[in-house]
Symmetry: C2
Subunit: 256 residues, 2 copies
Amino acid sequence: MKQTKPLILITNDDGINAPGIHELVNYVKEMGDIVVIAPDAPHSGQSSAISVNKVLQITAHPDYNGARMYSINGTPVDCIKLGIHAIMERRPDLILSGINHGSNSGNSIIYSGTMGAVLEGCMLGIPSIGYSYHSHDQASDISCCAEIVKKITSRVIAGGLPADICLNVNIPKCDKVCGIKTVRAARGYWTEEYAEYTDPHGKPFYWLTGRFHNEEPDNPETDLYWTDRGYASVVPCRPDQSATDMIAGISSLISD
Amino acid sequence: MKQTKPLILITNDDGINAPGIHELVNYVKEMGDIVVIAPDAPHSGQSSAISVNKVLQITAHPDYNGARMYSINGTPVDCIKLGIHAIMERRPDLILSGINHGSNSGNSIIYSGTMGAVLEGCMLGIPSIGYSYHSHDQASDISCCAEIVKKITSRVIAGGLPADICLNVNIPKCDKVCGIKTVRAARGYWTEEYAEYTDPHGKPFYWLTGRFHNEEPDNPETDLYWTDRGYASVVPCRPDQSATDMIAGISSLISD
């Protein structure tokens, strides 16, 4: 008899051992056949980076809760590309990334390895969703994510996603999520970005830090407005960054 | 007397020693005061990656053709962030990235460290342009880029760029560029993505390769159509990937 269960590829950027990826398996295991392919180590802030001059290797791990588990010594996008090329028997029907420990709201999506994997899946024509939980503490209880993850995942399995569109879901840190709001990313920028130190030879060195300054905290059209108020946010994203509405203006700027 | 020359920050993803960054300095040195801040090693395929758990250090190098030169042991985006934080006396008026050896046409922009730096500059509100030349051979003569780089850079210095818009410029490999076309990125995907090997223990390993399959080679609205025909392409890009036109549709998909 033909296998009709959806084939779901799960990845993340916190690595194969992160609690969030195990929780994600737990939440969706009834919805399909699960294959987990994740980096062998944490890869936060890796965006859509790919390993262009490096040998990639695949390691099989013991099954977890019915899911086949593999790690790759690369980035989240490497996991999607090489996973589909060398591990999956067929193209997955769905790609899930997460559950990331830490926000990917506002412009954080552009740095996010979690969302790098999702954008990659989308460019391959596969419905893809990234889930992020607003606590960096990997020991924190993320069970409040279960209902949101199950609902959005099941809706996308049933209804699909439009071509070239993927989802960036952010879930606030709270006992009970109030609901789901579909919005755009809040505009803002990062401030106080580096801690500064001095090495034993008197030379400075730096460590990335900083916080996101939301330029529109009172705008209900944005993700952070709602996550700040206990709602999960869903931002539909498009990998292509071409600003087609600006082609005429730029053309007149640089043409003779 | 007040200094009124534009302050230009130049970076790349091929590293501080790449010929393309020196050529870029040569082409624009009359247009402003130049500070070069680039990775200490090649960082192709780094996208908008940031170093989140790593010490960053700055190294000063001898001036090149009137430009101050610095390297950072990080990604192109690290160079923009830390460069502005710790090296530049004031915010640059313009950021240039390149000249990259290799195409950033089609969907390659999403993997490109060259364009990662440009998107970062754009999010900081600084007019930013990425230049890429369609040859991976770092020894190749790229003097045919000079006219295009000078023209576009001077036009942007004079006229600025719209808010939240940066430019991805691709220059074909040819003796003489036919002209400039402002367009969008061609749609496509990568095929045959990995070379496969077997290690001495009989275990497979992989090396990223592949080629871009252009889904619309006959569409004059796209960058690759024109670079294939000897023109430079300019794609206006927007860092924010929120698909605002899809919010209503996605909302109805996942709401009750």
